[in-house]
């Protein structure tokens, strides 16, 4: 088990290095510099700026400097907001994004799992068809359509919830979290139903039924553990989608998070900020994929044995 984790961590490092390298050279190859303004900058000032940000060094030196700084957690100064470093901006934007993602995934699990389990137990009844059709709609409804509609209905027409902000007025975290989480609630419901159906047709479940155990006990104690494994392997990639979704949700609900910073950095051509965020996002995604893999092995005795057998 420990060996497996170590191996996966070692596999993740080259990928991360690749992301950082490719991003670095892509940004450097981009036409137009960060200091291109509508107004022409005098050449002396340009030279000074380039010197200050070490843009006049040879490319390989810039690359090595940058990489060694990144390893130490220093993403350099922001090109757009000269008084801040990228690390400062990122640590300011991180908490709202992580909080939003956490609430969204909690919402998705709280809605998705019970719906999926119930649909599997009551297969081919109304309790199966209605939630599963709704889930299909949920999957097709893009975040940037659902968000504004929720905002319009609950924020403006009914006036029940605040329309924007994060942590400024009570309840303003509800709409963004639901918007971001609903697609995943739909996916989780479908995946959970599929997983449970497969497990419920296994022999050991029939044995449990023959023993006269209650349905609740069979489902919760015997079936659930196997039934939710596909959900867990879905959670890793889901985190990646969640981060992308946070770009939209944070823009719609004006949450001061990392996703919004990233989109703004993209508009401002704030290269160091883009670089830093990309590397950070890649790190987070790889990390969560890794965690999902580990939990999956931990939950599944069969996989664990295979790993032990192989050493």
């Amino acid at each position: 088990m420990l060996l497996f984790i170590l191996k996966r961590v070692l596999q993740a490092i080259p990928v991360l290095l690749l992301v950082a390298t490719v991003t670095f050279f892509m940004v450097r190859a981009a036409p137009g510099g960060p200091f291109d303004k509508d107004r022409a900058i005098p050449p002396e000032v340009m030279t000074q700026l380039n010197k200050r940000y070490h843009l006049d060094d040879p490319l390989w030196k810039q690359y090595l400097d940058y990489m060694s700084n990144v390893v130490r957690g220093d993403f350099g100064p922001s090109f757009k907001y000269a008084s801040h470093t990228v690390t400062e901006l990122i640590s300011a934007g991180m908490p709202p994004t992580l909080e939003l993602s956490l609430y969204a995934i909690l919402f998705a699990l709280l809605v998705g799992l019970p719906t999926g389990i119930l649909a599997a137990i009551k297969q081919n009844t109304l309790l199966d068809y209605v939630p599963m059709s709704t889930a299909m709609i949920g999957i097709c409804l893009p975040t940037f359509v659902l968000g504004p509609i929720l905002l319009l209905v609950f924020g403006i027409w009914l006036g029940w919830l605040p329309v924007a902000g994060w942590g400024q007025s009570p309840g303003d975290k509800i709409l963004p979290s639901i918007t971001l989480g609903s697609v995943y609630a739909a996916y989780i419901a479908r995946i959970c139903r599929g997983g449970m159906l497969e497990i419920l047709s296994q022999d050991y479940i029939r044995t449990a039924r023959a023993k006269g155990l209650s349905t609740a006990r069979i489902v919760l104690v015997h079936a659930l553990r196997g039934g939710i494994t596909p959900v867990i392997s879905f959670l890793g990639p889901a985190i990646a989608g969640l981060l992308a979704g946070s770009f939209v949700v944070e823009s719609i609900f004006q949450v001061p998070g990392l996703g919004r910073f990233y989109v703004m950095a993209a508009f401002n051509r704030d290269y160091t900020m883009i670089l830093g965020c990309t590397i950070l996002f890649a790190f987070l995604i790889i990390l969560f994929n890794l965690l999902a893999d580990i939990v999956q092995v931990w939950l599944n005795p069969k996989l664990r044995q295979e790993l032990n057998a192989r050493g």
Partner: protein
């Protein structure tokens, strides 16, 4: 072994139906799937002839009118510049569908070739090619595409290539898996023993036999591509004004949804219905082409 082969009554076999006929019959029984198919057909037809049938031009402004709710002159209302929304949605569908189809075609070409070559050659080549796919899977692609549009500006061509280049991974995996099983069958061994070149075996024997799953996955790739384009346009990184795509229309609608909700609701509805139809058609095709595959 050769002694007592029972005589097969050949004409009898002809009465059966071919695999594709079976599949079409199964699809026809799927009402939601067929409804989705006709909706998409209509949408494609309208998009194709939009320049000739659109009631207005996509950039014709009527500032005196401003944003007006749906009326007899403007069926879906007008935006803040007095531009006809029906026209702009129709032109937007050209962009969205074109991105959907072309980017999917790019993904399809790379994915099928990559998967078929890896699966057929096997061994070390296969290991290296699939390792590359694994590594690319770990990359944050939405972020990567945003990065690309920032660096190279948001041109239509880039959008096609960038989206196509990220969507081929799953296709490659599916095709490789299929090829691995097909490779062991007699007709491929026969082709190898006849001395056909690997390229000929891949293109004439392997690829035609993996078409089923490929068709299904293609149908499911198109909506995710359309969604990705709309997502980029919504963020302002995709299609640039005055051209319209569904994503940019929705983004415009969000800004003024308090006063003019129809500017959000209609483009949102069209986009959602399109995604819905493509997903249902994909599901229907999967059931039709591979009756054994379960739904989830």
């Amino acid at each position: 072994m050769t002694a007592n082969i029972p005589k097969v009554d050949l004409p009898l076999l002809e009465k059966g139906s071919s695999l594709s006929q079976d599949a079409i019959a199964r699809l026809r029984r799927n009402k939601v799937g067929m409804a989705s198919f006709y909706f998409l057909l209509l949408l494609i037809l309208i998009a194709a002839v939009t320049p000739w049938i659109a009631p207005y031009t996509y950039d014709a402004q009527n500032l005196a009118l401003g944003a007006a709710p749906p009326s007899a002159d403007h069926w879906l209302g007008t935006d803040t510049l007095g531009r006809d929304q029906l026209t702009r949605i129709m032109y937007g569908s050209r962009v969205s569908l074109m991105v959907g189809f072309i980017a999917t075609a790019v993904a399809l070409t790379i994915g099928v070739l990559w998967g078929a070559i890896a699966g057929f050659l096997g061994g070390r080549v296969d290991a290296v090619m699939m390792r590359i796919v694994d590594a690319l899977y770990a990359l944050p692609f939405t972020i990567f595409i945003i990065l690309l549009t920032v660096i190279f500006g948001s041109s239509m061509l880039l959008l096609f290539l960038a989206i196509g280049a990220v969507e081929w991974l799953t296709m490659a995996r599916i095709v490789r898996g299929q090829v691995l099983t097909i490779k062991r069958q007699e007709f491929v061994e026969a082709a190898i023993s006849m001395g056909l070149s690997p390229w000929r075996i891949i293109s004439r024997h392997l690829i035609p036999n993996v078409l089923g799953p490929v068709i299904v996955y293609t149908t499911l790739t198109i909506p995710s591509v359309i969604l990705l384009e709309s997502f980029l346009s919504f963020l302002g990184l995709g299609i640039q004004p005055p051209a319209s795509s569904w994503g940019s229309l929705i983004s415009g609608g969000v800004e003024t949804m308090e006063e003019y909700p129809w500017l959000l609701i209609f483009p949102g509805l069209v986009l959602t219905m399109t995604l819905f139809s493509l997903n249902f058609l994909g599901d229907g095709l999967r059931d039709a082409l591979d009756p054994r595959a379960s739904k989830d």
